[in-house]
């Protein structure tokens, strides 16, 4: 469903992505890696927010450089900056999104009510986004991504800022969508959740894919693998951090 071939992206002298190639089938796939590894850059290229310097990206058989509008119709995205407007309420974001994707007013209203209830946003539906907590903003972006039932979902850190109940709800929702044939590509630091729900896992470091679950027969915990392949923990204690006895 997602084809990415020989993608390279440089920002001046810094190579954010270096000849990245992979294919993502239907189901849930996850991309993990440390900060600055190139995860969000890759997600921006896959969603057409930035162009690669070289390489080819196809989503659902459509070429991202020449068929970007067609691709935007079939994808739902939670971008890194969430892409929300401060001057609209949560409800108004969804009311605006539905018609843009061809939903009728009753369809939009019905789906909006379902999503607001499911994500625990119903009580805050008339709150302006600049008055919302980070978790509420994240849930709004999630609801906007899902509203038009896209074939492909791109989610940047979908579980960050969510309470455990909503996080579980979103996991179930994604698993259900994957069962229905949707393709879900998520970027996350929450290794425990990724391990539970993702069928395919890719690990990126320094702009290169350094490990994929499909090429690894071992059954090691993801966390161990992550620390081995990506970075080791900083174990030096802070000498000044000792609580005063009062």
């Amino acid at each position: 469903m997602i084809h990415c071939r020989n993608v390279t992206k440089k920002f001046r002298d810094f190579t954010a992505l270096d000849d990245v190639s992979f294919e993502v089938p239907a189901g849930i796939s996850a991309l993990i890696g440390p900060n600055g590894a190139g995860k969000s850059t890759l997600l921006k290229i896959l969603t057409g927010l930035i162009s690669p310097d070289t390489g080819e990206v196809r989503i659902g058989g459509l070429d991202i450089s020449s068929q970007s509008i067609e691709i935007r119709r079939i994808i739902g995205v939670v971008p890194e900056d969430l892409g929300l407007f401060d001057s609209l309420t949560i409800r108004e974001h969804l009311e605006m999104t539905g018609p843009i994707y061809g939903l009728t007013k009753p369809q939009t209203r019905e789906r909006m009510n379902d999503l607001l209830l499911m994500l625990g946003l119903d009580h805050a539906r008339d709150t302006f986004l600049n008055q919302c907590s980070y978790g509420m903003r994240k849930k709004t972006a999630l609801a906007m991504a899902i509203l038009h039932a896209p074939r492909v979902l791109f989610l940047d850190e979908p579980f960050e800022g969510l309470d455990p109940v909503v996080s579980k709800t979103v996991q179930n929702l994604l698993l259900d969508a994957a069962k229905q044939g949707a393709t879900i590509f998520l970027v996350s630091h929450t290794l425990s959740i990724v391990e539970q729900i993702a069928k395919e896992i890719m690990l990126i470091r320094g702009g290169r894919i350094v490990w994929t679950s499909s090429q690894d027969d071992g059954r090691r915990p993801l966390e161990d693998l992550y620390f081995e392949l990506v970075e080791s923990q900083h174990l030096e204690p802070l000498r000044w951090l000792h609580l005063r006895q009062s």
């Binding site: 057409g48 927010l49 119709r73 969430l82 892409g83 929300l84 108004e92």
Partner: protein, 344 residues
């Protein structure tokens, strides 16, 4: 005292930064217009009396955002968590008064007006009124977000109605709109209340209303910040996105110039949108709510000259000038839409 000094130092820094955003007026077309009036009067050897009402209007409109409580810049949760005593909090409240720019403005003015008690009283009443409006509205919105009047701005029908509403809200959250509103209300009052209104005055007034909104056309995306990526994820062509911005702008402009003289005002507005398109798309200068918008002086001056010339032409030669400008606008929208699709 060390804790108080630290808080006051941070607060001073925050107020300084906040005041720096007020400098946006320096690159606003309405300010250019005021400066032009002053210059032309002085060059003609006259006192710049014609400019005074416009400069006073700018000052009065700026008074509202300047009246905000400096202590409000500290997040309430952070303020209540700091280990400060009640006495320290009271001292901070008193000291913060000195950080209020309105307080600095009021002191020298009151000193000047010490022998004119009526004027001094009016000044004090204006300052106190703006302080009250500012703090009561901020408090009410914090306690009850449903009191926000923007919430009741209805959505327009159609596929892009929600987007137009969003753009309408952005327009009414910059000070340019309030200058245009005051001018429009004043001009309408003159039309309906004056026994013999001068017909040519409406040509000038209509264009001044359009001029006061013209800088906004250079920064259509200046208030979107994080939301800008959302536009790029929508399955829409560039011209469709731009049209939602333009529709909101023309709706506001039409309402404001309709009672005065829609032809010259709309012509000015169309010219402003065409000439403001490049900075709006390519530069995208960040703007701040409750401030005047700031643009690029070169584009601003060309907007003023071309807008005024074609506005007068519309008044003198009729609606075909407006029709020709609409054609140019449509062509410019097409070109800008292509630019969006290919380069943004």
């Amino acid at each position: 005292m060390v804790a108080l000094a630290a808080v006051l130092k941070a607060l001073t820094q925050a107020v300084k930064r906040d005041l720096a955003t007020l400098r946006s007026i320096g690159l606003n077309n309405f300010f250019f217009f005021g400066v032009l009036l002053v210059y032309s009067s002085l060059a003609g050897g006259r006192r710049p009396l014609a400019a005074i009402p416009f400069l006073v209007l700018i000052g009065l409109v700026m008074l509202l955002p300047m009246s905000s409580d400096p202590l409000g810049k500290i997040p309430a949760s952070r303020f209540s968590l700091w280990p400060l005593t009640g006495r320290q909090r009271l001292l901070l409240r008193i000291a913060s008064l000195g950080l209020n720019p309105v307080f600095w403005l009021a002191l020298p003015l009151l000193a000047l007006l010490v022998r004119e008690p009526v004027s001094a009283f009016l000044l004090l009443a204006t300052i106190a009124g703006s302080q009250c409006i500012s703090s009561v509205s901020a408090r009410s919105l914090r306690l009850s977000p449903r009191m926000n009047p923007l919430l009741y701005l209805p959505s327009l029908p159609g596929r892009f109605g929600g987007m137009v509403r969003h753009n309408l809200r952005q327009i009414v959250s910059v000070l340019d709109f309030y200058v245009a509103l005051v001018l429009s209300v004043g001009a309408s009052a003159y039309r309906w209340l004056s026994p013999q209104p001068e017909p040519r005055a409406f040509l000038a007034l209509s264009m001044v209303v359009a001029l006061s909104l013209s800088t906004y056309t250079q920064c259509f995306f200046g208030l979107d910040s994080g939301g800008f990526s959302r536009y790029r994820l929508m399955p829409l062509r560039g011209w469709q996105i731009l049209l939602t911005k333009d529709t909101a702008y023309f709706l506001v402009l039409l309402v404001l110039v309709l009672p005065i003289g829609p032809g010259p005002g709309l012509t000015f507005g169309l010219v402003s949108v065409v000439l403001g398109r490049y900075p709006a798309l390519a530069v995208r200068t960040r703007q701040y709510r409750w401030r005047f918008t700031s643009g690029d002086g070169r584009f601003g001056i060309s907007q003023m000259i071309a807008g005024a010339a074609l506005g007068v032409a519309e008044y003198e030669f009729g609606a075909w000038v407006l029709a020709a400008v609409v054609c140019v606008y449509v062509a410019a929208l097409y070109i800008a839409g292509r630019y969006w699709d290919e380069a943004i």
